[in-house]
């Protein structure tokens, strides 16, 4: 870590703002030897937690009446992905995501929803819009070379509230196409890596959460013995911070063994609540997300499924309908449940995929990736409800009005969490990195 003097001498002639921000961050880190200790936000936060409902693959997100007409016509001008593909009529009739939205809305928190069309992302490959490899970075290797989205960054900026649970939990029944890089801490410290939970069985929820060899009492005694030895060692070494931090986290790991098992045990929920979410991994994951947020976990990302289920290159109508139907109930229940528990105000729910799909067809019945314009929706923590933001062209192909880049979305999420995205930096490889690179504007119009 840089000392204050080093930092000033390094950056004194350069970027005073960054230096200041880095100093603040360094001070916050120095204040607590534990990197996961809660930290002071840049300004009052509107949201404390984020639940990201991640429809891995790219869900189609629009209805465009124009297509019904143009669908019969030759290829519309200026659409580079439409070459050799013919516009299709069927697809436009299937507003699946609208269905999710409308039904959830009818169920309850319409005033808490913001439909964020239309986003834009410069990359068009699986995993990219999600992992945010910056535009100046390596497109050929298709790998996440930066810390994934806001999750590790959020934890880095804010720490975690519940010291007995991981701060960033990823619920994914298997592996998405590009693998664990999606929740990788990349160059951020390892402790900020997402805790991947594949199996929701409370006994197997986190790897090595249970000891097969000794009982809890023996383990407690064993840990007490270890603590005594470690404390003698620590005292002989002048209270070294690293050693102290290790003793703390050993304790935390032990407490997590009990608390995590409890947090993931959805069978402790009333039958009515369980029924409202429905059955299956996604339903249980949504319910677990609420239980985790309730216990102070900063960020929960719920993957819809393994691989990239929302990637209907073929038979889109059937595929999208089935997935919309399957996920809708759980999402609606989650929003209602959060509201009932009084958590919706402080929990930002983000729904979205990796990108959208083209208005034109691929093969007979599928549609291809569209990174030029797609939608996400936000609900709860600090966003205005009942509005849409941004507009695409009449085909739903590219964002036209009030474009929101993924950097802008990140900046906005950080803002809602009380973090100035320009001040949250991490020094790596000789320079200060930001989640939003050198871009990003907070979309003020959607904030309450």
């Amino acid at each position: 870590m840089f000392t204050r003097r080093e930092l000033l001498s390094r950056t004194g002639t350069g970027l005073p703002l960054l230096a200041l921000a880095a100093l603040e961050a360094a001070a916050a880190r120095a204040a607590a030897a534990n990197p996961l200790a809660p930290k002071v936000a840049h300004f009052p936060a509107k949201a404390k937690h984020v639940i990201h409902l991640f429809m891995n693959g790219g869900p189609s997100t629009f209805v465009q009446p124009a297509l019904e007409y143009h669908g019969q016509q030759p290829r519309p001008p200026g659409q580079d992905r439409t070459r050799s593909r013919r516009a299709v009529q069927v697809a436009v009739q299937v507003p699946q995501v609208q269905a999710v939205r409308h039904r959830s809305v009818r169920d309850l928190p319409r005033d808490r929803q913001t439909d964020r069309r239309h986003l834009r992302d410069p990359l068009d490959a699986h995993g990219h819009p999600e992992s945010r490899a910056g535009p100046a970075h390596d497109l050929r290797q298709r790998k996440a070379i930066r810390p994934s989205m806001e999750k590790p960054w959020l934890q880095y900026g804010l720490g975690t509230e519940n010291q007995n649970l991981p701060g960033f939990v990823v619920l994914c029944p298997g592996k998405p196409v590009v693998g664990p890089a999606l929740w990788s801490n990349s160059f951020l410290p390892g402790v900020f890596q997402g805790c991947h939970i594949q199996n929701l069985d409370p006994k197997r929820v986190i790897e090595h959460i249970q000891n097969r060899y000794i009982g809890a009492t023996t383990q407690r005694e064993q840990l007490d013995l270890l603590n005594e030895l470690n404390k003698l060692h620590l005292n002989a070494r002048n209270g070294d911070d690293q050693l102290d931090a290790r003793i703390q986290s050993l304790e935390m790991a032990f407490r997590m063994q009990t608390e995590a098992t409890e947090a993931f045990d959805v069978s402790r929920e009333p039958v009515k609540v369980r029924e409202s979410y429905g059955k299956g991994y996604f339903a249980d994951a949504c319910l677990s997300a609420r239980r985790l947020v309730e216990r102070g976990v900063r960020m929960v990302q719920v993957f819809y499924g393994s691989g990239q289920p929302w990637d209907d290159h073929g038979d889109l109508e059937k595929g999208h309908r089935a997935k919309a139907k399957d996920s809708d109930k759980a999402i609606a229940a989650l929003l209602k449940d959060l509201k009932a528990k009084g958590l919706l105000d402080e929990t930002l729910v983000l729904w979205g995929g990796e990108f959208g799909r083209t208005p034109t067809s691929e093969g007979a019945s599928g549609r291809d990736h569209n990174n030029h314009g797609f939608c996400v929706w936000l609900a709860g923590g600090g966003v205005k409800g009942g509005m849409t933001y941004g507009q695409s062209d009449e085909f739903g192909f590219a964002a036209m009005e009030n474009k929101v880049h993924v950097h802008d979305l990140h900046a906005t999420i950080l803002h809602l969490m009380g973090i100035d995205h320009e001040k949250l930096t991490y020094r790596y490889s000789g320079r200060d990195f930001r989640l939003t690179d050198v871009y990003g504007t907070v979309v003020k119009d959607i904030i309450r």
Partner: protein, 526 residues
């Protein structure tokens, strides 16, 4: 009056006098001068136990056995530390341990691409041989640049088709210079311009990764074309689609002149080898020129970067820190010492083993670790630094202390992938240790740790359960085995009390061994 004459000579010919002085003395003198200037009281000399553990880990990557510990602690020879150092430097494990450190620097825990992972064992074997044969550093770097010796090519395979990444890696690892800023714009704080960056990349732009065979027989070689240049199109901010840029001639780092190269004959046609065929050697090889420059006196960066890296390996931080960011305006914390290390390395023909021997024989390296500083890497080197063990060191040390490997027994598959996940990257990127919760759960509950401890014929637990010795003796032996020192009275009492618990002896001893290998003292180098 001969003494006076000597003093006179010293005054007028300090260089002559310094050259004859062993480096270890220079180290101690320079560090001492800084402590006096900074008004710092250094830690006392380390105890034999602390030194024993530290030197084993630093030189051979594992801890000593109980027999080695007893022999060393019981030895009254005042020269026993120096002798131990010589013995460990000649130990075959020395090459493996040093290889592992450099290999991680070259590839990281998770290399850039899959192919690099597949062929990494071949690279590791090549690299270990350089240390085993103590090949002069500049010479093996030259060979690494040429990539002709089998195994060495893997370094380049990881940057396949990316000459810019090669330039970044080579400058950072071997020249101690951060050039990557100059990739998109002239460096804001340094003299490096984009021309310097692309000039360096110009040496690598013609490299081609060639393949032959398939499956396990898939082999890589690095060929070189006779034509091709880096195209430079200016500041990244001003890029426009369709702009191709102008060719940039290769240029050695820090040079103001482009590389002189003969013009390519007008009628030259680049051969296009078929599958499994290799490119012919070019008539003029940029790669050969670069390899030659790397190991030449014209390259001012190589010795500095290597001396600084080796110093940091043993002392915790570079004299210029971080070690891969030596700038034009960087001042070493101990300028004369930095000069002496660099000059010494050159004088001794880049003999890394010599440099290591001098550093670890210094009194400064052998200081105790409890001093006034709370920093993990004390700035003035006033105490031994505390560092976590690497994944390889943890596993190797667990094997030694629990006596996991028994004669005549086939070594079971350990499942390295697990250790990599949980112990692979214990540092936060800035040098500070951060034990993750996952790591602790792994220590607490996984079979991968448990199986080292569990009772089997001939191992530590078996000995503890079957031995007829009084419990005090056993406790002492446990501490000497795992931590290479006898227990303090408080520790002896604590552990003895624990062992009087009501569970059966096997369980109790198993838990005590678990606790001992789980202590911070075991997880770190002290």
């Amino acid at each position: 009056m001969p003494p006076l004459r000597i003093a006179f000579l010293l005054l007028f010919a300090p260089h002559v006098a310094l050259a004859a002085e062993p480096l270890r003395t220079v180290i101690d003198r320079e560090l001492k001068a800084a402590w006096e200037r900074e008004k710092i009281t250094p830690a006392p000399r380390s105890s034999d136990s602390v030194f024993l553990r530290r030197i084993h880990l630093d030189l051979v990557g594992t801890v000593p056995t109980l027999a080695e510990t007893n022999a060393f602690l019981g030895d009254a020879d005042p020269k026993k530390r120096e002798k131990l150092i010589d013995r460990l430097l000649a130990d075959p494990r020395y090459a493996t341990a040093q290889m592992q450190l450099w290999d991680i620097a070259f590839f990281g825990r998770v290399p850039q691409n899959y192919e690099a992972v597949q062929k990494r064992p071949a690279f590791q074997a090549w690299l270990a041989k350089q240390f085993a044969d103590n090949v002069p550093y500049d010479q093996w770097i030259k060979q690494l640049m040429l990539a002709e010796q089998p195994g060495s090519e893997t370094f380049w395979v990881q940057y396949r088709g990316q000459p810019e990444e090669m330039a970044v890696a080579v400058s950072r690892l071997f020249l101690g210079t951060q050039l990557q800023c100059a990739r998109c714009h002239d460096h804001p704080y340094e003299k490096w311009t984009q021309k310097d960056f692309f000039g360096l990349a110009g040496f690598f732009v013609r490299l081609v990764v060639q393949e032959s065979g398939s499956g396990p027989n898939r082999m890589f070689t690095i060929g070189e074309k006779s034509t091709g240049d880096v195209l430079f199109s200016g500041n990244a901010k001003e890029q426009k689609p369709g702009r191709r840029g102008d060719p940039v001639k290769p240029r050695f780092l820090g040079s103001t002149m482009d590389l002189e190269e003969p013009p390519t004959p007008k009628d030259f046609k680049e051969p296009t080898p078929k599958a499994n065929e290799k490119l012919p050697k070019p008539a003029f090889s940029r790669r050969a020129k670069f390899a030659e420059w790397m190991a030449s006196k014209d390259n001012p960066y190589l010795a500095k970067a290597a001396a600084n890296r080796v110093w940091a390996q043993f002392m915790g931080r570079g004299l210029i820190h971080p070690i891969d960011d030596i700038r034009t305006d960087s001042t070493a914390s101990h300028p004369e010492l930095f000069q002496a290390l660099t000059a010494g390395l050159v004088e001794h023909n880049f003999d890394l083993k010599w440099l290591m021997r001098e550093i670890v024989n210094s009194e400064s390296y052998q200081l105790a670790m409890h001093g006034p500083s709370k920093e993990a890497m004390p700035r003035w080197f006033e105490q031994g630094r505390i560092r976590p063990l690497t994944m390889e060191e943890i596993v190797a040390s667990l094997r030694v202390v629990t006596r996991f490997d028994q004669p005549g027994e086939k070594t079971p598959e350990l499942g390295w992938e697990y250790y990599r996940i949980y112990f692979g990257e214990p540092l936060d990127g800035l040098g500070e240790f951060q034990g993750s919760l996952k790591e602790h759960l792994f220590w607490n509950n996984s079979e991968h740790i448990r199986r080292f401890i569990q009772r089997k014929k001939g191992n530590l637990l078996e000995e503890m359960v079957t031995s007829k010795d009084p419990v005090e003796k056993k406790v002492e032996r446990l501490f000497l085995t795992v931590l290479h020192r006898p227990p303090t009275p408080t520790e002896a009492k604590t552990v003895t009390e624990y062992l009087s618990g009501k569970e059966k002896p096997e369980t109790l001893f198993e838990e005590v061994i678990w606790a001992l290998v789980n202590t911070s003292e075991f997880r770190f180098n002290h």
